[in-house]
């Protein structure tokens, strides 16, 4: 036994020695890959959708080419990204779709995250059908007529009901409750990731098959697969307060940026630039389409946008 205790003591003390004695600060945990070779590094979090990739690609390009930083990107979903921001593992989150709980915890209570202002893009979630189908059956665009078309939306996965395709588990969704509360003859099928959902939508569109899907704007895919929104009962402030009883549409959300509090204070030019970064839905879609559809690398797409929109980004650097 004595051997084991002494080994434990040795292990703990060598841990402490290695990292400098005393308490370790869990709020200052930069990535081991940051600031290598004497370059200043900014670590940006990327979310799994292409719009978020576009924000990061352009910010990365300007940080590297105009301000001389080195940029590391890490793919994390929004909620874990909040956690990573508070620990300093990433410096910025450029597109947040509204997480009041996290905001309360980290921005107001713990003050480890600082708001970074608006991104300039307004997000909206809704239910969509392909426009080729909406043209043939104009009344599909009202939720009251959805049940009439349920069997046209049937797939092997949804069984005897119509399929309402949902996407990644990281998205905000009330769809299960909506289907139940609006008494719709539909089954929510989770594609499990945006990549799977997009791939399936494109396959459907190629064959001009009808489908009903949870989707959101801004999104580049609208340019490839034109879609029409199905009107749900209108959104009113607070109608989505109880997740079990939701029976209304999704709100329009101005997307927000957030910075690690320490980085916001000491991040110098990079932090100032990221706070000023603000562009439009069209700008974002332009870059997204280049990345996702033309399969350009995010860097090339960002370069192309930067070369043709000097007046927009010059303002972010001043």
């Amino acid at each position: 036994m004595r051997f084991r205790t002494s080994a434990a003591v040795a292990a703990v003390s060598s841990l402490a020695l290695l990292t400098g004695c005393g308490a370790a600060d869990m709020t200052k945990q930069a990535s081991p890959f940051a600031n290598a070779q004497g370059a200043k590094t900014v670590t940006l979090s990327v979310q799994s959708w292409v719009g978020a990739q576009s924000n990061v690609a352009v910010a990365q390009y300007l940080l590297e080419h105009e301000l001389g930083y080195r940029v590391d990107t890490v793919q994390v979903d929004e909620v874990p990204a909040w956690d990573a921001l508070s620990q300093g593992r990433v410096d910025a989150l450029l597109e947040d779709w509204g997480h009041p709980e996290q905001e309360q915890r980290y921005v107001k209570d713990k003050k480890t995250i600082a708001p970074g202002g608006e991104l300039g893009v307004t997000g909206h979630i809704g239910w969509f059908v392909p426009t080729y189908f909406a043209k043939k059956h104009p009344d599909i665009t009202n939720w009251k007529n959805l049940n009439k078309y349920a069997d046209q939306f049937r797939t092997p996965e949804s069984g005897s009901k119509g399929q309402l395709m949902d996407g990644s588990p990281s998205y905000v969704t009330n769809d299960k409750a909506l289907v139940k509360n609006l008494k719709l003859d539909y089954q929510v099928v989770f594609a499990g990731s945006e990549a799977a959902q997009i791939t399936q939508m494109r396959q459907f569109a190629k064959e001009k098959k009808p489908f009903l899907t949870y989707w959101y704007s801004p999104q580049w895919l609208f340019k490839k697969v034109p879609m029409t929104e199905v009107k749900l009962p209108p959104y009113k402030e607070g109608c989505d307060a109880d997740p079990e009883k939701v029976a209304c549409a999704y709100p329009h959300t101005p997307l927000q940026k957030y910075l690690n509090a320490d980085f916001a204070k000491k991040g110098g030019k990079a932090a100032a630039f990221l706070r000023k970064f603000k562009w439009t839905t069209e700008d974002q879609n332009e870059v997204s389409l280049m990345i996702a559809d033309k399969k350009m690398t995010p860097e090339d797409a960002a370069k192309k946008w930067v070369d043709s929109h000097e007046s927009t980004w010059k303002k972010w650097l001043s």
């Binding site: 703990v12 841990l15 402490a16 290695l18 990292t19 308490a23 370790a24 600060d25 869990m26 709020t27 945990q29 990535s31 081991p32 890959f33 290598a36 070779q37 959708w49 292409v50 990739q53 590391d72 990107t73 890490v74 793919q75 994390v76 979903d77 909620v79 874990p80 956690d83 990573a84 620990q87 593992r89 990433v90 915890r105 713990k110 480890t112 092997p156 996965e157 069984g159 395709m165 990644s168 588990p169 990281s170 099928v189 989770f190 594609a191 499990g192 990731s193 945006e194 990549a195 799977a196 997009i198 791939t199 399936q200 396959q203 190629k206 064959e207 990345i291 996702a292 399969k295 690398t297």
Partner: protein, 649 residues
């Protein structure tokens, strides 16, 4: 004569087995006759009775909140976890900076020269080519990040594994305590580890390294213990008679005698760590895994492949080099081995310095071959032509639809319609017939735990997908394995293909799988088959090839056709290997259930991904726990006890 030696086990064993199996089943039926009416009277319900569930979501949510609120202030974090995290970060950073400082030429030279000393010229050339390919694909920096992560994770796994293995190898009591722990660690799907470590360490490198250690240390521990226990008794006695202390005996005799097992353990640990390095991308570990994962977001198979190939290359090189080192162990040491190493070291230093002087530390941007575009075009062509409208056989979308409606749906509905006690009885019967009452008890308890966790229905949904995937895997795997066992040429041709499928990160083939089979459970099953097939093919081939050649010869001299030979001699004699293939097929299929969740598999896999994405520990941990229980149950149901001790690797 030899046919006689082959015959008795075929006739005798099954007879004996049947006899014992009937006994066990009768006993079980008796127990059921008493217990089922009781259970039915008390909790009359088809699915798991809600009275018997425990809701863990509240305490888990509280625990998660407590950790997040106290992570920056509680002494446990400030003085323990914080330091662990810092040590990991510092170590990974040190390795990463060293690799960058040595430069691409230096790293390539280092890899090649180490391979040359350990495994010969051929592998040295292969290693150099592999490193250069990583650069050519434009993945040099991510490859170095992954390598840095791997070095630290493997070192830590080896230290932990050897310590556990020493304890288990030297003390019988420790062995008994550790064996079920290691068993459980091996059947746990990797994703189940991610949530708890993320909670404590947050996302990023420290969590990734620790999750990797949990995953990769068990084989090292097992093989260390196996090596220590397997040491030649006579040698040990001789050393003891010389009057050495226990510690001297350990250092001078037992450990050196076990070095072959130690090296095999290192090999296994490296392979497992590498497969985890990719999964760890989900929790923000960076490196190649992250590139694969990011490429998924823009539905870009080509970019994912460009990041996936370096992982395959690293895995193949590391596997071959450590294997070659193991084979060389028994041989006489070369006369000038010291000088060779010195020469190698000098070569590396020279190349690194030259690279530095030439200012060529970073991989030049212009030396990048863009493979993404042609790959994407090929994938598009394939899916456009196979998805639907193929004459006669129908498109892949039709197959997927039929598979869902005719196989998956009935299986799921059937399992979910079974009364809960019937499921427990079936599990008990299967596990008891093939093993002992202990394995049966473990299996039943694991299944019951799923009910108690409150995820009975989704678990049976997942189980139906796993069973369907395993069935297809076994049919295809046995067929290919038998073919490969009968033709050396086919086996040689298959080897690189199997290597690629075994080590290619699963994220890479998610998009093609969806493009071919649509969203739902069918693509999830397809992804699982792709992942589990190589192991089943390998084990089958090996098992068939190890059948005593004498038995084969004598049967052919008696005029047996090659089909008769296969059916009556090879397959029965290879039965243990085939059973192992079934077991491994199940475990591997279960390991990709979570990946299935990403393509519409739903059920437990989706819940685990949901938990990670939403930071919702209650959902994620409970689903992860249920996958673990399913794994334990399936392992016990398919693993005969007598082979348990040999499970080593």
């Amino acid at each position: 004569m030899a046919t006689i030696t082959a015959n008795p086990p075929r006739v005798g064993l099954p007879g004996l087995l049947k006899h014992r199996a009937v006994h066990k089943l009768l006993l079980l039926a008796l127990a059921a006759a008493i217990l089922v009416p009781l259970a039915n009277a008390r909790w009359a319900s088809g699915t798991w009775p809600s009275a018997l569930t425990v809701d863990f979501s509240e305490p888990l949510a509280k625990a998660s909140d407590w950790i997040i609120d106290n992570r920056d202030s509680h002494p446990l974090f400030l003085y323990f976890f914080g330091h662990v995290s810092n040590v990991v970060v510092i170590a990974v950073r040190a390795v990463y900076l060293t690799l960058l400082a040595v430069g691409w030429a230096g790293v390539t030279a280092l890899g090649a020269l180490v391979a040359w000393r350990v495994a010969g010229v051929k592998l040295a050339l292969g290693t150099a080519a592999a490193f250069l390919a990583c650069g050519l694909l434009g993945m040099w920096v991510p490859t170095m990040q992954t390598l840095a992560l791997m070095v630290v994770a493997v070192l830590a796994s080896v230290v932990v594994g050897v310590l556990l293995g020493l304890a288990a190898g030297l003390s019988d009591r420790m062995d008994r305590v550790l064996r079920p722990v290691l068993d459980t660690m091996q059947v746990l799907p990797a994703f189940a580890y991610l949530l708890p470590v993320v909670l404590v360490f947050g996302i990023g490198v420290p969590a990734a390294v620790l999750a990797t250690v949990v995953y990769a240390a068990p084989p090292m521990a097992r093989l260390t213990s196996l090596g220590l226990r397997g040491a030649d008794k006579e040698v040990l006695e001789a050393v003891e008679s010389l009057g050495s202390t226990a510690r001297q005996r350990l250092l001078t005799a037992r450990i050196p005698l076990a070095r072959k097992e130690l090296l095999l353990g290192l090999n296994q640990t490296i392979m497992m760590a590498l497969s985890m390095a990719v999964i760890a991308a989900v929790i923000g570990a960076g490196g190649l895994g992250d590139r694969v994962y990011q490429a998924l977001a823009s539905v870009d198979v080509g970019a994912a492949l460009a990041a996936g190939i370096p992982i395959v290359l690293l895995a193949v090189v590391l596997d071959r080099v450590t294997c070659a080192a193991g084979e060389k162990l028994g041989a006489e040491p070369e006369p000038h081995s010291g000088r060779g190493w010195l020469l190698a070291l000098a070569g590396v230093v020279a190349v690194a310095v030259a690279g530095r002087l030439a200012g060529r530390l970073d991989w030049p941007d212009s030396w990048v071959v863009a493979i993404a575009e042609p790959v994407n075009r090929a994938v598009d062509w394939m899916t456009a032509h196979l998805y639907s409208g193929v004459p006669v056989i129908g498109g892949t979308a039709d197959w997927a639809g039929h598979f869902t409606t005719w196989v998956l749906d009935p299986m799921r509905d059937g399992l979910q319609a079974l009364p809960w006690w019937a499921v427990l009885l079936i599990v008990a019967a299967l596990a008891w017939v093939i093993g002992t009452w202990r394995t049966a008890l473990t299996a039943v308890l694991a299944m019951a735990a799923i009910g108690v966790l409150g995820v009975w229905k989704p678990s049976l949904d997942t189980l139906s997908q796993v069973l369907a995937a395993v069935a297809v895997t076994l049919v295809v795997g046995f067929a290919v394995g038998i073919a490969a066992a009968r033709s050396d040429r086919l086996e040689r041709a298959l080897r690189p293909v199997l290597d690629v499928f075994q080590t290619m990160p699963q994220f890479v083939y998610l998009i093609p799988v969806v493009a071919l089979f649509g969203v739902g459970r069918a693509p999830a099953v397809a992804a699982a088959i792709v992942y589990a097939l190589p192991a089943v093919v390998r084990i089958t081939t090996q098992g068939l090839r190890q059948v005593d050649p004498a038995a084969l010869e004598s049967s052919s001299s008696l005029g047996a056709t090659s089909w008769q030979q296969l059916k009556q001699v090879q397959l029965p004699l290879a039965r243990p290997a085939l059973l192992l293939a079934v077991n491994q097929g199940l475990v591997l299929v279960l390991a990709v259930v979570v990946i299935g969740g990403l393509v519409g598999g739903g059920a437990l896999g989706y819940d685990v991904v949901f938990g990670l994405a939403q930071g919702d520990l209650a959902t994620g941990l409970v689903a992860g726990g249920a996958i673990v229980c399913l794994g334990l149950m399936l392992d016990r149901v398919t693993q005969p006890t007598e082979r348990r001790a040999k499970k080593g690797a």
